[in-house]
Symmetry: C4
Subunit: 209 residues, 4 copies
């Protein structure tokens, strides 16, 4: 099997999910007072949109890098990829829930952020499963030496641990969990880029989300 | 004609359909009580979403395998493929109906599950029609010997028979029909994978849904 | 410029438009009586969906054939293609209007069908404009001899004339206009296929919608 | 990294965004009076749709040209491209706001047009950032001589300046700002095409939005 359709299908899902995020940004129609005030009140909505937009973007970049490292596409990979995409398509509804409940605060805001963090934990597990799959057999274009498997796994687990922490933090403060995930996004965007231009020796594919 | 645009268009439809499934998962906004309770009550919705998500995923994998076996793309194939996609795009609205009516039980739940099963029967017939088309002329990259045509057709009919059974079961119990289709999905995901890694001699393309 | 992105972008628009058609098929939720009766009442909706689905499918097939005949992609073509896609994305809202107003009959049903027919007339004009563009310069992979230009143009105009007739018919009978467009769709699907398998000498690209 | 997935993902976002524009064009259902009158009243909606449709089309064409000029794809480019796409997906909700508020006039119409103009200013900045990125290192297939960098930057800044003017104009007259952006769209469509067929010596990639 070739990687082409796996990438085309995944890119389609990423593209639809990232565009649907903006679908509910439009404010209420005329008859609800000053548009300027409506827009001013929609900043939590806009903030949640921007965070989810860049999270999907980061996931897309990481997916790109991970799939590029793969030599063979079999049915196991197709279904592991499907598991990953399940969490991708859950981002827009989870974002809608955060958008509606975060600014209200209280228990509902905390529940919304636990849910939101859990979706990214699911994504992290999906990436870890695909990465684990690539470690066995001759599935990578450039096999990783066995002694690097555990360090690579730990780096993956570290990525997932951020979302476990975010879930725990969300139980106490929704805003703190939101900021933690936002900082994670900033870290991914900022850290990757220099690595890339330095042409560092670290194998890129092991740094996915 | 080349397979490229047939696959690109189909992948686009699959990607949009699978992402739209999640569009209505978001719960009601603030003012409807505890979010935790709202989320708790949405488990039938979430279950229907997960089942339809993996069903579309399975159909995509099977479509991938079937189209890959084809040597020529003519207009008949384009329209047979269109017939198949007609049932793919019906999955999100059929899922929305199941989501709304399944947990209520009674006649409405049974009608919803008859409809849901009928969409998958339609998909099965669409796959059968494309497979039948591949058997004639020189349309396959690796022609199947004539003596394997009937066994292959029977395997296809067997796949479709599951959904006929699901329709009949749905007349008596909506939940039983739901479980039957869910077991079919699990069977497809589980059974395919070992086959694939064993590199079995059975020609893969004849095992589609 | 290469044809690849023109096709990829167009296929994306076709795929999203054809999938969005089904978005509003879901019936009202619980509390609106028997689901079986709701589904029974939705047959005009379903009929309009099926017609628009196959019309978009036919347009996609014709677009495929027309673009394949083109040797160069310049900005004029990109904008003519955009004009064509404008009418493609208008099909879902036009279908929604037909779906809502056709079964009610009266003036509103006639207005809805005039609008629906006009969208297809617009598509026909868009195809004609692209075809006209291909006739000049060295824009076709296989140039058409000049003496075939007028017959080809007339065949195109003939296609568009069906929708002019549909508009006029719609002024008197919405149902008659709907049936006329449905018969046109059946004609396109049925007629093309034998042509194709006969491998007729007629140049395929000149037969687009 | 290859350009393929960058283009595929971007094309997907463009295709979904341009098709979603038409999603809310459908008028209210039966029971709201004459359909003809409803359609007549929806012309501001239709005008805003057509303008945004062609703006996305122009942006897609320019994106096509800019990305085609690039030799290497690194993570910085992926995230700059993501920034550009952020503003692309904001076009449908911004259009929905214009559609709802423009015809009402007054302060709300002016606020709507400031917002709409600001989205295009954001796009212009996104294009400028990608262009700036291409000027450094060996990132272009055909490097621009250093003495052309500033003229090219000024041409980019000129494009963005139109939207700054549109924002200022919108503070006084929403309709005037709408017409200014519409004239910009007409200019882009009209001016590009002759350039292109003349095969002018000006490097095409530097003329993006």
């Amino acid at each position: 099997m070739d990687r082409g359709r796996l990438e085309a299908f995944s890119d389609g899902v990423f593209a639809v999910a990232i565009t649907l995020l903006a679908l509910n940004l439009a404010v209420a129609g005329p008859g609800h007072g000053h548009l300027l005030r409506l827009l001013g009140n929609s900043w939590p909505s806009l903030t949640a949109f921007v965070l989810s937009f860049f999270m999907i973007g980061i996931i897309w970049v990481n997916h790109h890098v991970l799939i590029r490292s793969i030599a063979v596409v079999d049915r196991t990979l197709l279904f592991l990829n499907l598991l990953l995409l399940l969490f991708v398509v859950l981002i827009p509804p989870a974002t809608a829930i955060v958008r509606q409940y975060l600014s209200g605060g209280g228990e509902n805001a905390r529940v919304a952020m636990v849910l939101y963090s859990a979706v990214f934990l699911g994504l992290s597990i999906g990436f870890g499963a695909i990465f684990e799959w690539t470690l066995h057999g001759e599935r990578r274009l450039q096999p990783l030496p066995p002694e690097t498997h555990w360090p690579a796994r730990l780096r993956f687990a570290g990525g997932g641990a951020v979302y476990v922490v975010a879930i725990v933090v969300a139980l106490f403060s929704a805003i703190a969990a939101f900021i933690l995930i936002a900082l994670t996004a900033v870290y991914y965007i900022a850290q990757r880029t220099p690595d890339d231009s330095r042409g560092s020796g670290r194998s890129e594919e092991t740094e996915v989300l």
